[in-house]
């Protein structure tokens, strides 16, 4: 018998802000929808360990997708005529289009890094329609990640972006997980990481929005790694302080990519939060 993993991948055609998109979606499991958002310049492969975790997939339908231009999702029509700069409203519209296109009923939305940022807006804007959010490495405002070398003709973009982000892992994390993530980052399209960090360095600011989140309607769990220098624990603590009823845990010995750099440790922090999300 072939030794297939339980992950199933398919392409979804869906309109986002009026433009048709061909989006790669993969999923595993049954139960409460858990929609997962990858980090800047990466793709849903970051969630491969979660998608293979039977303790999760017997209770949750884990759904991951590659953002447009990322991984196996295509750019929109005439992408070559526009410079890629992700905007908050476009990102929100993408998530909404995916979750509604897939007919996910009251999903839990979990995102990391730029995904961890946007879930704060998902919670503020859609709190009556979702079960909750799990923010990994979440900041409401995180300037300072952009630099001009991220898309420079004299620089190998894949190597720079992958190396630039490598130090975001905790030194204690297993080499294999860190290198997997390096590989995924190195495969990003030219300027995609740059366009993503422009979103959360310049466009994204949810400091006022998070104050509107009612955790009686939409549960909020925040997990941040102690070695994350992009979104430091102090930055997430500020978010947690602004949301009454929010759960916040600092993950000791973890960096910015918990689901891929050290899944064995990450699941110890994640499983209790999934139990909270599961309870009605």
């Amino acid at each position: 018998m072939p030794e297939f993993e339980p992950i199933v991948g398919r392409y979804l055609n869906v309109a986002i802000q009026g433009r048709n998109h061909r989006i790669y979606v993969e999923e595993a499991g049954e139960g409460i929808p858990l929609l997962c958002l990858h980090t800047a310049g990466a793709d849903s492969r970051q969630f491969r360990h979660l998608l293979n975790d039977e303790e999760v997939t017997r209770r949750f339908r884990v759904v991951c997708f590659d953002m447009p231009r990322h991984g196996r999702s295509d750019p929109p029509d005439e992408w070559w005529l526009e410079s890629y700069e992700l905007k908050t409203e476009e990102y929100l519209a993408t998530i909404e289009a995916l979750w509604k296109g897939l007919q996910l009923d009251r999903p839990v939305v979990m995102g990391c890094s730029m995904g961890g940022a946007i879930v704060l807006r998902v919670a503020s804007d859609f709190q009556d329609e979702i079960r909750g959010i799990i923010g990994l490495e979440s900041a409401a405002h995180a300037p300072g990640r952009y630099n001009e070398f991220l898309l420079h003709p004299a620089v190998h973009g894949g190597e720079l972006v992958a190396t630039y982000t490598f130090g975001l892992n905790a030194p204690q994390s297993p080499e294999e997980g860190k290198r997997d993530n390096w590989w995924y980052y190195a495969q990003s399209g030219p300027g995609v990481y740059r366009g993503d960090v422009m979103f959360y360095s310049f466009d994204f600011d949810a400091r006022e929005h998070v104050k509107t989140i009612d955790t009686a309607k939409c549960k909020v769990s925040l997990l941040t790694g102690s070695y994350d220098y992009s979104c430091t624990p102090a930055m997430t603590e500020k978010v947690a302080a602004a949301i009454p009823g929010c759960r916040y845990t600092e993950m000791e010995g973890m960096g910015h990519f918990p689901m891929i750099e050290n899944y064995a440790l990450f699941r110890q922090y994640l499983l209790p939060e999934l139990e909270v999300m599961e309870a009605d």
């Binding site: 070398f149 620089v155 630039y164 490598f166 130090g167 070695y227 220098y229």
Partner: protein
Amino acid sequence: MAEFPDPDWMAAFADRVASDRELAIIGGKFDVDMGITFGERRYVLRVRQGKIEKILPAPGFDVPTQFEIRAPMELWQRFLSETPPPLYHDIFAMIMRVPEFVLEGDTLVAMQNARALHRMMGLMQKVGKEHA
């Protein structure tokens, strides 16, 4: 045991770099002259094909470099410690969050060699664990 960062310690660092299997693969185009300053002590490293071909202690201003890295000794000690604390565990963490860690000069050259440079500085941490 050589004391960080005296010339013998730097020679141990160069040996560690020279024997690294990964740099042997990724460092073929890593050809730079770079300055590195530990507190008051400055060296120039002549890097050729990913190996530290020559270490110049206390170089004068007539030794040109493409880029320089400098930081106070206390900061280097954190970087080289057995379990580096957050923000001091990686050169890119320090570039982003630690103002006393300075990368200057033709930083484009540094970024063109980011992968090999990052690996080389990571190897410095391994020497640090043995000798610092």
